[in-house]
């Protein structure tokens, strides 16, 4: 039953993705991308990933939509809709078929005997409490086991801030 719910939400998300890509008016594209992010957040919640759902909802829906809407002030709304581009369609569908064929080797969706559940994850499950004293395993991995990844990611955010201020301040008015 839960597989059926996940698949139905996934189909909804896929339809919304097609809508985001094919809409003509830019304002509609921004609204659709916000709805797309919200549906993704719901999907992650159903797939037992509340941390990722909270992040996707807050970053994907809230901040990205604020940035896009405030950037729309500079761009005019109407854009000509691209007619169906056949070569691109063929290449993309063949790539999709190739990737889907390769994903047949995966463990089934939700299969607990998957190889990804052995190895490092067993180590995390057995001594997250002894090592870090946190209840949430995700935050234990995020902060201490793979803390260097999070440091790199903080750097990415810092770089985004610096790049925005570098790119915008062209002719800074001397006060």
């Amino acid at each position: 039953m839960s597989l059926f719910i996940d698949v139905s939400i996934l189909i909804l998300v896929a339809l919304m993705a097609v809508a985001v890509v094919n809409t003509k008016n830019l304002l509609h594209v921004v609204i659709f991308s916000s709805v797309f992010s919200l549906l993704c957040a719901l999907l992650y919640l159903l797939m037992a990933a509340p941390d990722v759902a909270l992040t996707e909802a807050s970053i994907g829906a809230c901040v990205t939509t604020c940035f896009l809407l405030s950037a729309l002030k500079y761009l005019k709304d109407i854009d000509v809709r691209a007619k169906i581009d056949l070569p691109a369609l063929i290449v993309c569908s063949s790539l999709c078929a190739l990737l889907c064929y390769a994903s047949m080797d995966f463990h089934g969706y939700g299969d607990q005997a998957a190889i990804t559940n052995l190895g490092a994850v067993d180590y995390y499950k057995n001594n997250y409490g002894k090592d870090t004293g946190l209840l949430s395993i995700v935050n234990a991995i995020l902060a201490s086991y793979r803390g260097f990844d999070t440091f790199g990611e903080t750097l990415v955010i810092f770089l985004a801030g610096m790049s925005i201020s570098l790119i915008f301040e062209t002719k800074v008015l001397k006060k």
């Binding site: 190739l98 990737l99 064929y101 390769a102 994903s103 047949m104 080797d105 995966f106 463990h107 998957a114 190889i115 990804t116 559940n117 052995l118 190895g119 490092a120 180590y123 995390y124 201490s144 086991y145 793979r146 803390g147 260097f148 990844d149 790199g152 990611e153 750097l155 990415v156 810092f158 770089l159 985004a160 610096m162 790049s163 201020s165 570098l166 790119i167 301040e169 800074v172």
Partner: protein, 494 residues
Amino acid sequence: MIKNLVILEMLLPILIGVSHIVNRRAHLVYLVTCITNVVVCVAAVFICIHVFQSGDMHYYFGGWLPPAGIEFKITKFNSVITCLISVISTATFLHGKNVMFDEIDISKINSFCGVFLICLAGFIGVLLTNDFFNLYVFIEISSLASYSLISISKDKSSIKAAFCYLIIGSIAATFILIGIAYIYSASGTLNIDDFISKLPNIQESNSVRIGYCLILVGILIKSGLFPLHTWLVDSYKSTNSFIVPFLNGTSSKIYIFLAINLTYLIFGIHYSFHHLNISFIFGAMGAMAIIMCSLAALYQSNLRNMLIFSTVSQIGYTFVALGLGSKASAVAAIMFLFGNILAKSSLFMLASNIYLNRRSYDMSKLHNLKSHMPIVVVLFAINGASIAGVPLTIGFSAKISLIIELIKKDMWVMLAIVLCSSLVAILYIWKFMETFLYSKAGSINDSKRKDGFGVYSERELYFPLSIIAFLTGANLICGVFFNRFAEFLNNLIL
């Protein structure tokens, strides 16, 4: 103690780069960045010596052992490349004081130097890391930093080039991420050594094969191989000339290192050349790169465009050497890598100095350079010779070892391509050498030249030229002692 040096080499540029936001005095920021670069260079050399004496070094972040935590693995190969990257970044910074203050306005220099240092730390991270997802994070750090570095220049088309580079770079990084997803789901681990030990029993599965191809495609896009090189040409053509030697020496060359690492060290020669035949891909794209871009370089009248197209054709040589699938061909590819990093970065530095003197890259304005800047012309000749493959330089020894490999594998068509393209390389280098040496009748002679609107004569550029002379000297030393250099490279890859 040496283990903490690895972290110093990695963390010092980040913390100093972050702290540049606070102080606004441009000259102080420039000085501090130069010192940081020199310290990183010295640390890299120490680590390199230590690794050569006592074998590989492992650094476990947070004290967690590999399958659980993230690990840095410093082998001979990546410690030597780290030394080279930090030498190039130090040389760019020490040489580029006039160029930087000329091209970038004062208010942006402190953020520029901050982003530059974080970009350097990102490149060092890409080289040293031994964890797939950490590799993706550092690729993202270094490319996000290079998008904003490229977008700063007086020419407005650099903004458009930076945006195209952002879109193509993000697609490449997302391909690498999908590849990591396939490899993670097939092997269950993110650690590279762990994956190598698990590879034999999951070789047959499709997801490892597709994951390998996706990561390889992402790396090829980022390294600027021929059909996927448009972002590289546009962004180097329009960006400020301070950053081009650094990016040419590091950004595309690091992804060539990743390609060598992926095909020869992680997946091994047997898997990549017998299970899936990538020698055809490398050979075909490399050959196209050599033909198309050497001819394109021939028709350029702009000095910098010529250098950019010759860089793309040099990348083609490296991938032709990589496509042959034997250890000796990998050594030839690394030799091309060394030669291109040293010679091409100094050529771009020379071009920026010529721009300082003549205020243009166009051939019509570069006549009779020998009377004003004799040293620049001599250095241009030596480095051009290394690119074209004239004896006593790294370029020559790389071409010779490639030709030997081609003859061994009796690929006569490829041999013909390599030979005639090195002839074309000599032609387009000589075309610019000729304009430097002889003054055209109608060209502006020195009496009428308007000195003074920011034109630098050679007397003011002695210090930058000594930096370039140091790089050229390294190039010559490695070229002259060819056999010791080849044997040194041989034991890089065990």
